[in-house]
C-alpha cells in the first residue's frame, strides 16, 4: 500500500515538475521563429537591428509556412526583425486599430478589407508604396488618400455541390433569379451577415445586384424559398453544406471562390477535380489592404515592410497560404489555384463609404426580413 502510494505521488511530482519546466523554459521557445543571421543582416544595413511589429488577423499563419519564410528573408536582407501580433478576426483587428489610433499596438497592419475600410482609414499613415505601379489599379483606386495599399483580393460566392446536382439530375443554379426559383427551394445555406464576414459580403452582393431599394424584396423571396441562416462560415460550410467533407443537407452555401481549389489541394485522399463549383454571377469582391499604422516609432522600417508585402517575392506566396489572389498583376498564382478556381469576370462591389454609412441600417432591415 505504502509502496503504491509513493509511486503515484512520485508520478504526480514528475508531472508538476514537467509543468514547472514548461513554464520556465520561456527564453528558449520564445525566440522569434524567423530569426536569421543577424551579423550578416547588420552588415547589410549598417544600422542597429530594429524589430517592428506586423499586426494581422487570426487566419494568418503564425509560423512554419512559406509566408513566414518570406518574412524571414525580408529580415535577412534588411536587418529588420518582424514580430507577428495576431489581433483576432478582421473586424476585431480593425476595431482595435481604430481604438488605439495614434498609439498603435504595432507598426504595420495586414488584412483590413473593403467592408471595414472606411472606419479603418484614420488609424493609418498615408504612404504610397514603391510597388504601387505593379498593383491592380482597380484596387488602388479604392484608397484615393493612400492610407492603405491593396495586397490581395478574393471573392465571396455561392458554392455548389456538383455531385449532388448530378445525382439529382438537376442543373446547378447560375443566377440570383435561379435561387428564388421553387425548383431550387430549401437548398441554400447562408451566414448571418450580422455575425459573419462572408455573410455580410453576400448581403452586399445582393445590394450591388438589386440596388439599395431592391435587395429587400429579393431577400423576402429568398426567405420564402427556404433559405437557411446560420451564424458562422464554419457551421455553414462544415455542418450544413453537403459538398465538403461534411455531410450536411444543403448543396448550396455561401463561401469563397477559392474554396473549390482548397478542396482539391487539401483533399484526402488526393483528387484531380474539384468536388464543388462556384456561381460566378453571385460573387462579391473582398479586397485586403496593408498599411503603416499612424503613430509608429519606426515609420521608415514600416514603409519598407509595406513595400515588401506588395513585392513579387511575398505576393507569390499569398495564394496557397491565405487562399486569395495576389494584388500584383505580374504575379501568377500557382497552377492548381488557376486550374480549379473559376474566374470571376464581373464581381459585384459596393463602395466602401456606402458600406460604412449604411451597414447598420441594412443589417437591421435584413434581420427584420429574414429572421423575424
Amino acid at each position: 500500500m505504502i509502496h503504491r502510494r509513493s509511486t503515484t505521488r512520485l508520478g504526480a511530482l514528475a508531472l508538476v515538475s514537467v509543468l514547472a519546466l514548461v513554464a520556465c523554459s520561456d527564453d528558449a521557445a520564445d525566440a522569434p521563429t524567423d530569426t536569421t543571421d543577424t551579423t550578416q543582416a547588420t552588415d547589410a544595413t549598417d544600422e542597429a537591428p530594429v524589430t517592428i511589429t506586423l499586426v494581422t488577423y487570426d487566419s494568418f499563419p503564425a509560423e512554419g509556412t512559406s509566408l513566414n519564410d518570406a518574412l524571414a528573408s525580408f529580415t535577412a536582407s534588411t536587418g529588420i526583425e518582424v514580430e507577428l501580433v495576431i489581433a483576432g478576426d478582421t473586424g476585431t483587428m480593425v476595431s482595435k486599430a481604430v481604438l488605439t489610433a495614434g498609439n498603435p499596438e504595432g507598426d504595420v497592419m495586414w488584412g483590413v478589407d473593403n467592408t471595414s475600410l472606411s472606419r479603418a482609414l484614420p488609424a493609418f499613415e498615408p504612404y504610397t508604396s514603391a510597388e504601387i505601379d505593379a498593383l491592380d489599379p482597380a484596387l488602388t483606386a479604392l484608397v484615393p488618400g493612400g492610407e492603405l495599399t491593396p495586397v490581395d483580393f478574393g471573392d465571396v460566392c455561392i458554392n455548389t455541390d456538383l455531385e449532388w446536382f448530378t445525382a439529382e439530375g438537376l442543373e446547378p443554379p447560375t443566377t440570383f433569379a435561379d435561387l428564388v426559383d421553387p425548383a431550387y427551394a430549401d437548398l441554400l445555406t447562408v451566414q448571418n451577415p450580422a455575425t459573419s464576414s462572408p455573410g455580410l459580403a453576400f448581403l452586399l452582393a445582393t445590394v450591388a445586384e438589386f440596388g439599395a431599394d431592391g435587395w429587400q424584396a429579393y431577400w423576402t423571396d429568398l426567405r420564402d424559398n427556404g433559405v437557411e441562416v446560420v451564424d458562422s462560415w464554419t457551421t455553414a460550410y462544415y455542418e450544413r453544406f453537403s459538398g465538403s467533407s461534411g455531410d450536411g443537407p444543403s448543396p448550396l452555401v455561401v463561401s469563397y471562390a477559392s474554396s473549390p481549389p482548397a478542396e482539391v489541394i487539401f483533399a484526402d485522399p488526393p483528387r484531380d477535380d474539384a468536388p464543388t463549383g462556384v456561381m460566378t454571377e453571385t460573387c462579391f469582391r473582398q479586397v485586403e489592404f496593408a498599411g503603416v499604422l499612424a503613430g509608429t516609432d519606426h515609420p521608415e522600417q514600416a514603409q519598407r515592410l509595406v513595400d515588401f508585402l506588395a513585392s513579387a517575392e511575398f505576393q507569390q506566396e499569398v495564394a496557397l497560404n491565405l487562399f486569395v489572389w495576389p494584388a500584383r498583376t505580374d504575379v501568377a498564382p500557382p497552377p492548381e489555384f488557376v486550374e480549379f478556381a473559376d474566374v470571376v469576370d464581373t464581381p459585384l462591389t459596393v463602395a466602401p463609404e456606402d458600406i460604412e454609412t449604411n451597414r447598420e441600417v441594412w443589417l437591421d432591415e435584413w434581420t427584420q426580413i429574414v429572421l423575424r
Partner: protein, 551 residues
C-alpha cells in the same frame, strides 16, 4: 434549513485574525483585480461611453428581448445543470471504484473543449428536431457545465460525515428523507457556489448560443461581440457590457447572501468512500459509471473518428502531417502540434499558479474579513460576468504606455485566463472554509496557539483538497479558453484552441481532420493533467479519515 439545530453551530461573522493579517489577505487579490480588471474595464468605459452611446443603446429595438432571453436561458440551464450534475457528483464523491479518478477527470473534459469543435459533434448526436432550438442550448449548457457541479459539490460531498445520514436513518428516516433533510441542506452552500458559476457561464454564453441557438437567439454577450467587432461600435458594446454587469450584480448579490446565510459548520474530513459490497450496489455503481463515461466519451469518440475519416475514407494524413510536411507542395497549414501543446501548457501553468494564489488568498480574505471581504467576494466573480471583448479592449487601451506597456505580452493571455479562473478557485474553497468547525480553532487557542497559528493550522490545512479542485478548474479553463484569448492580441506560439479555430476557418478535408485531431490532443492532454492533479490529492499523513482505502 434551521441554523439553530443543536449539532450544527452557526459560524460567527468574523474571526479573530489580527487586523494586519486580514488587511494583507484582502490587499493582494484586490490589487490583482484592480489592476487587471477594474482599471481596464473602467478605462474603456471612460474612454468610449457618453450620453449619446447610452441613448443609442436603449433606443434600439430588441434590447429587452435580448436581456430576457439571456436571463431565462441562463436560469433554466443552471437549474438543469444542478439537477443533472448531482448524479455523477454523488457517484464519484461517495463511492470508491476502479477508474474513479479517471472518470472524475473525464467529466471535466467537456467543460474545456472549444465549443466550436464540440458543437459539431453535439449537433450530430442531437435529434434533428432539437437542432438550433432553446432546448439544444440548455442541453449543451448542461453537458459543458456538469463538471462544475461534479467538482464543487462533489468536493464537499466527499467530505460530509457519513454518520449524520446514518443517524437520520437510525432515527427512522427513509433514504429519500435523509437525503432531503440532511444531505441536501449540508450541500447547499456548495450547490449555490456551483450554481452561481454555472449561471455566470451560461449568462455570458457565446459559442454554444451561436452554434446551437441559431441566428435568432442572441444573448447580451453575443450582441456585445457583434457590436464591437462587426460594427466597430465599441461604445455601444461598452454600454451593453454595463447593462450585462448590472443585471448580474443583482443575481450575484442575491446568491452571495444566500450562500453566507446557509453556511453551517460541520466536521469536514476526507471520508473513506465505501466500495460497493453487495452485488446489487456493485452493478448499480458500475452501470452508473459506465453510463456517465459513455455520455462524456461519445462526442470525443466522434471527434477522434472524424480525424481519421476525412472525406468518408480511413486516413491518417491529419495525424501524419502535423508539424512537418505540407499537405501539397507549397500549401502548408503551418500547424505545429507540439509547439501548440507546449504553448497551451505553459499558459495553463502560469494561469493556474496565478489563479490559485489569488483565489486562495481571496477566499481566505472573504471568510475572515468583514466588509472588505464581502466586496471582494462579489468583485472576484465579476470578470466571469464581463464580456471578454470589453476586458480585451480595455487592456489594449490601458496597458499601452510605459511603465505598463504590456500589449502583446505573452503572459497577458495567462492573466486573462486567471481572471476567468479565480472565481472557480474562490467558489471551490469558500464552502469548505465556511463549513469549518469553529471548535477546532478554539481548541487550538486553548492549547496555546496564537490566532495566526490557529488560523494556519486549521483553516489553511483544510484547504488542500478544495485548492486542488480549484487548480483543476484553473488548468481546465486555461487549456480550453478561447473567448478572452481571441480578443487579446497575442504573439509567439498559438495555443491549441486557437489553432483549432484557425483550421476550422479553412476549406478542405485535411484542415478539418487536423482540427479534429488537435481537439483529441487537447482532450488527451487535459485528461492527463487533470488525472495528475487528482493523484496529488492523496492524504499526506495517516491521521484523519484518509480517502485512500485501507486494507
Amino acid at each position: 434549513m434551521d441554523p439553530d439545530r443543536p449539532s450544527l453551530t452557526r459560524l460567527p461573522a468574523g474571526i479573530a485574525l489580527p487586523v494586519a493579517a486580514r488587511v494583507a489577505l484582502v490587499v493582494v487579490p484586490s490589487s490583482f483585480l484592480a489592476v487587471f480588471y477594474v482599471w481596464p474595464f473602467l478605462g474603456l468605459v471612460a474612454e468610449v461611453v457618453d450620453g449619446s452611446a447610452i441613448a443609442d443603446t436603449f433606443g434600439r429595438p430588441g434590447l429587452g428581448r435580448v436581456m430576457w432571453f439571456t436571463c431565462w436561458q441562463a436560469v433554466l440551464s443552471t437549474a438543469a445543470t444542478l439537477v443533472v450534475g448531482l448524479g455523477p457528483a454523488y457517484l464519484v464523491a461517495r463511492w470508491e471504484f476502479p477508474g474513479r479518478r479517471l472518470l472524475t477527470a473525464l467529466l471535466t473534459v467537456p467543460f474545456l473543449l472549444p465549443t466550436v469543435v464540440v458543437g459539431a459533434a453535439f449537433i450530430a448526436l442531437l435529434p434533428d428536431a432539437l437542432e438550433t432550438s432553446a432546448v439544444a442550448i440548455v442541453i449543451a449548457h448542461v453537458f459543458f457545465n456538469v463538471a462544475v457541479v461534479v467538482r464543487v459539490v462533489g468536493g464537499v460531498w466527499s467530505q460530509l460525515p457519513a454518520d449524520l445520514v446514518a443517524a437520520a436513518r437510525v432515527l427512522g428516516a427513509g433514504p429519500w428523507r435523509a437525503t432531503r433533510e440532511v444531505t441536501l441542506p449540508l450541500l447547499r452552500p456548495a450547490l449555490v457556489a456551483a450554481g452561481s458559476i454555472a449561471f455566470l457561464f451560461t449568462f455570458t454564453s457565446f459559442g454554444v448560443v451561436q452554434i446551437l441557438g441559431g441566428p435568432t437567439r442572441v444573448t447580451i454577450e453575443v450582441e456585445i461581440a457583434r457590436r464591437a467587432t462587426q460594427l466597430g461600435d465599441v461604445s455601444g458594446a461598452a454600454v451593453l457590457s454595463l447593462v450585462q454587469l448590472a443585471l448580474l450584480a443583482v443575481v450575484v448579490g442575491v446568491t452571495v447572501r444566500t450562500q453566507r446565510r446557509a453556511s453551517v459548520s460541520i466536521g469536514l474530513h476526507a471520508q473513506a468512500s465505501p466500495r460497493p459490497r453487495t452485488r446489487r450496489t456493485r452493478l448499480a455503481v458500475g452501470a452508473a459509471a459506465v453510463t456517465v463515461a459513455a455520455l462524456v466519451v461519445a462526442p470525443l469518440a466522434a471527434l477522434a473518428l472524424s480525424s481519421v475519416r476525412p472525406g468518408g475514407r480511413w486516413s491518417l494524413t491529419a495525424w501524419r502531417t502535423f508539424g512537418d510536411g505540407p499537405a501539397r507542395p507549397g500549401a502548408d497549414l503551418g500547424v505545429d502540434a507540439i509547439g501548440a501543446v507546449v504553448a497551451s501548457l505553459r499558459a495553463a501553468a502560469l494561469a493556474t499558479a496565478l489563479a490559485v494564489a489569488i483565489g486562495t488568498l481571496a477566499a481566505l480574505a472573504v471568510s475572515s474579513a468583514r466588509r472588505g471581504g464581502r466586496l471582494l467576494d462579489v468583485g472576484s466573480m465579476l470578470p466571469l460576468g464581463t464580456s471578454a471583448v470589453t476586458i480585451g479592449f480595455g487592456m489594449l487601451i490601458t496597458f499601452d504606455r510605459a511603465p505598463v506597456d504590456w500589449r502583446g505580452e505573452p503572459w497577458l493571455v495567462a492573466v486573462g485566463h486567471a481572471l476567468v479562473a479565480v472565481p472557480f478557485v474562490v467558489r471551490a474553497i469558500l464552502p469548505v472554509l465556511r463549513a469549518r468547525p469553529v471548535g477546532w480553532r478554539e481548541a487550538a487557542a486553548t492549547l496555546g496557539a496564537s490566532p495566526l497559528r490557529a488560523w494556519w493550522e486549521i483553516d489553511v490545512r483544510l484547504l488542500r483538497r478544495p485548492v486542488l479542485v480549484g487548480a483543476c478548474f484553473a488548468t481546465a479553463v486555461s487549456l480550453g479558453e478561447f473567448g478572452a484569448t481571441t480578443f487579446l492580441s497575442r504573439t509567439g506560439h498559438e495555443t491549441l484552441p486557437v489553432v483549432i479555430a484557425r483550421l476550422l476557418g479553412r476549406a478542405g478535408d485535411v484542415p478539418r481532420a487536423q482540427a479534429s485531431a488537435l481537439a483529441v490532443v487537447l482532450a488527451a492532454v487535459t485528461t492527463i493533467v487533470l488525472v495528475g492533479v487528482e493523484l496529488l490529492d492523496r492524504p499526506t499523513d495517516g491521521g484523519g479519515g484518509g480517502r485512500a482505502r485501507r486494507s
